[in-house]
C-alpha cells in the first residue's frame, strides 16, 4: 500500500500566490502559513513554513513563536528587525536585506518594519504547527489582559491602558503611521 500512501503523498504547495494568503491587510501586507494542516507530510517532518510580504514601512506586530524556532530568509527588499531575549535584551537590532538569513529562537520576541521598498521573506519553523502570539494588535496577549492589570503592571492610567489595548485594531500587520520614522540603522 505504499504507492497509495507515502508514494503518492502531496509534497508540494505554493505559498507565494497572494490568493492563498491567510492574513491580508491591503495597507500593510500579507502572510501565508504552510503547516501540517495544509500539507500533511509536514507532520512527519515536524516542520512548517510561512511566506510574508510587508508593504512600504509597514510593521509586523511584535510576536514570538511559542513552540518553534524560526529561520527567516529575506527574499526581497529590506526591513529593520529587532529580536529580544528573555532578559529583555536586544540580541538583534539591525537591517536585514535580500539574501540574508537570521534565526529567531523559540519564544524570543521579534518585530520587523519594512523599509521604503517593502520587505518579503520566507521562514522555516521547527514545528509542524508553529503557533505565534502577538504583543500588539487585535488578537494580542496584551489585549487579553484586563485594563486594571495593565495599568498596575505598567504604572499607567486606566485611560492609557485602554489606549494600549485598543489603538491598534489590525491583527498582525500594521500600517505605518503618517509621521516620518527615522531611517533603519545599518
Amino acid at each position: 500500500g505504499l504507492e497509495e500512501t507515502i508514494c503518492s503523498a502531496r509534497l508540494r504547495q505554493n505559498i507565494d500566490d497572494p490568493s492563498r494568503a491567510d492574513f491580508f491587510n491591503p495597507r500593510a501586507g500579507r502572510l501565508t502559513i504552510l503547516n501540517s494542516l495544509t500539507l500533511p507530510i509536514l507532520s512527519f517532518l515536524q516542520l512548517s513554513a510561512e511566506r510574508g510580504v510587508l508593504y512600504r514601512n509597514a510593521i509586523m506586530a511584535p510576536q514570538y513563536t511559542l513552540n518553534a524556532h524560526s529561520i527567516i530568509y529575506a527574499t526581497r527588499g529590506e526591513a529593520h528587525m529587532q529580536i529580544v531575549d528573555h532578559r529583555g535584551q536586544s540580541v538583534f537590532n539591525e537591517r536585514i536585506q535580500e539574501g540574508q538569513m537570521v534565526v529567531v529562537p523559540q519564544n524570543f520576541v521579534v518585530v520587523k518594519q519594512a523599509g521604503r521598498d517593502g520587505f518579503e521573506w520566507v521562514a522555516l519553523k521547527t514545528n509542524e504547527r508553529a503557533i505565534f502570539s502577538t504583543l500588539a494588535g487585535h488578537t494580542s496577549a496584551l489585549r487579553a489582559i484586563p485594563v486594571d492589570v495593565l495599568a498596575n503592571a505598567y504604572q499607567i492610567s486606566r485611560d492609557e491602558a485602554m489606549k494600549l489595548k485598543r489603538r491598534r485594531d489590525e491583527s498582525i500587520m500594521f500600517e505605518a503611521s503618517a509621521r516620518p520614522r527615522r531611517e533603519t540603522r545599518a
Binding site: G88, N107, S133, L135, A136, A144, Y154, E160, L164, R168
Partner: protein
Amino acid sequence: QQQGGCQIERLNAREPQRRIEAEAGYTEFWDSDDDQFQCAGVAACRNVINPQGLLLPSYTSAPALLYVLQGKGFQGIMIPGCPETFQSSQQSKEGQSRRFHDQHQKIRNLREGDVIALPAGIAHWCYNNGEQDLVLLIIEDTSNDHNQLDNNPRKFFLAGNPQQQQQQQQQKKQQNQGNVLAGMDVDTLAEVFRVDMETASRLQGQDDRRGHIVRAESDLQVIRPQRTREEQEREERGYEGRDN
C-alpha cells in the same frame, strides 16, 4: 538529558536555594543545577504573593504545572487567538461616571489544592485577592519536547523590571535585564501601540523598582463572575454536604 546525567548515588530532600524579593511578595528557587533536577529535566520555584499582590504577566519556554499551596486569588491565561469572552456590559456603564468598557480573556479562580496546566509560551498573570499570602508551587518541565531551547529555565516577562530575579538565576551576571519590551526601541513601541513616547517608555519598565510581584494600587477590578452566597456555602460544605 546529558549523557550520564542521572548517575545519582544519593538523593536528598532539598529546600529552595535562592530567594528573590519583590514589592508584594517573593519567589524561591530550587537549584536547577542540582543532580536530581538535572536528571528529571525540571526546574522548580515557589511564589509567595502577598494580599493585593500581582504576579506580572510572563511566559516560560517549557510547559509547567502550577499547584496552589495556600490562599486564593485569580489568574489570567492569554491563549493566542482566543476571543475576549469576559466583557463588561454596555448597559451597566451607562449613567456611571468614568466606567471603562473592558473585555479580556477568561479569568480563572485559584484556591488551595488547584493544579493549573501552563503550556509553553502561554503568558499568564496571578492576583491575590485573599487575606493571606497566595503560595504557588511551579514545576517547569524544561526537558519537555515543547521546549526547543536548552534545559535552562527561562521566564519572559511582558511587564515590569524583573532584573534581580534574572540576575540571580544567571549566576549574578551583571547585565541589564527587564521585560521583553525593554529590548525594543521606544519609538518602535510608540508606533506599534500608537501611544506617546512617555507611555512607550513606561512599557519598558526600566525605572520600575517593584520587581516581578507588584502591589495593586487598589483592589484589582476585573470582569469575572462572582459566586453567590449559596454557591459559596455549598462549596464550603464540600462534597459531603451535597444532596444526591
